[in-house]
Amino acid sequence: MIIIRLWNFFRGYAIIIVEGLKIERFINMAISNGIYIWDIKKQSYTSISAKIGLENFGRMREIVRRTDCTIEIKEKRGLPFMWKNLKRHKLFAASVLILIVTIYIMCSYIWMIEVVGTKNIDPKTVLEIVNNEGLKEGVRKSQFDKHSIENRVLIKMSTLSWVGIQIRGTKATIEVVEKREEPELISKQDSCDIVASKSGIINKILVLNGDGVVKDGDTVKKGQVLVTGTIIRENTETRLVHSLAQITARTWYEDAEEMELQQIEYKETGREATHYMLKVLNKEIGLKKSVPYSEYNETREEKNIISFGDYIFPVKLISNKFQELVKVPKTLTIEQAKKRCEERLDERLKLQLSENAVVLDKKIVYYEEKKSVKAKITVEILEEIGMKKRIDGK
């Protein structure tokens, strides 16, 4: 039935009201003349409403005359009438058309690029390379080849092991997987020595394969051979083996820090101002107002205003929030300065320590001066220092 309705809609039809005493006769005459009438409803005792195709309307006049009915068009429906209406409102029709075309065209561009999966690499560097390869904001989807860009980015960035570009709507997501830095592996067949990775005093040396050169309690320097893979015995030929050993040593770590007693701190006054701007494509629209504060914190936020699911359009609202700051001079007591020194030293120490290191002893010496406090830290650590090194030349 929907097909017939659609057909009628495209052809155009009218809702008519027929009034008269011989309505049955009117209907019979209409059908015998081949006029299709549908949806006949009784309105009152002497009138009906019905739908009639546009092309048959002229032929009704004859029937109306012969059956003494009056006919009245209540409503005209369908595409031909809508078309007529549109013609009357040309500007409106044109603007709707332009809007549809604009949206359609905009959908075929990339308006947002996102880099996912970076750990150590700055997403901006990936973005920059991708931009250079031709995938930029505002580029047409058909203008670049996804796979060739993926390949070229992989070639340019040796630190990546995989690059995948996914395009959804107007957004391109670049997924990257970073290469894990693996130490140079020496296979069991290759001969190697074990050397010290740090200077220190050997705490315990357990040789599994190879000849130990040093003993417990020996002081070693960085790079010194601890276990040799070259085995020299009397009466036999010199052999080369793959050395294996567990070597722990006590090592030292030193660091220093200075803290001024006179400090300047910034405090928020609670007053803030927000400036709004529109960003269309890469152009910022809006008045650049001067910031009313001399010292301030700036937070910038960009928000996509127009987006339909994955289809994001390049209109952004930028809000710049300025928070007023005020300088507060502060004098630290010696105790406070010491504490801050210690905190900073501890933080740096944590970065230096390897995974399985044990801190045996920690000493901090403070030197109090007129305007500042100096601190020196000495830490004794127990850690593995063995590092394999391939025997070259043979």
């Binding site: 309505i23 049955e24 209907i27 019979n28 059908i31 015998s32 081949g34 299709y36 009438i37 549908w38 949806d39 006949i40 409803k41 009784k42 009906i48």
Partner: protein
């Protein structure tokens, strides 16, 4: 004369098992539930009211009684009536 030809046609359709509505030009009434009735081979409508529609057919006048009766569509061979149908009779 007319009666004779009718009888011949009837025996013919019986003998050959042909559908009667095609050969004898009688009305075929299809009722779907109680809200739609289709009459094929009608000869025009005689009366149209919200509660009663009388349709002329070859075999006599078909009367459809119900409430809120509308003529959904009407063409030369077929008429479809919708609404709440209570009874159909000749």
């Amino acid at each position: 004369m007319k009666k004779k030809s009718y009888k011949i046609k009837e025996t013919l359709s019986n003998a050959l098992e042909l559908p009667k509505d095609l050969i004898l030009d009688v009305a075929k009434v299809t009722l779907v539930g109680n809200n739609s009735v289709t009459v094929e081979n009608h000869k025009g409508i005689l009366e149209y009211n919200e509660n009663q529609i009388r349709v002329n057919t070859c075999g006599g006048v078909l009367i459809v009684i119900g409430t809120k009766l509308n003529i959904k569509s009407i063409i030369q061979e077929e008429i479809t009536i919708t609404g709440e149908i209570n009874s159909i009779g000749y």
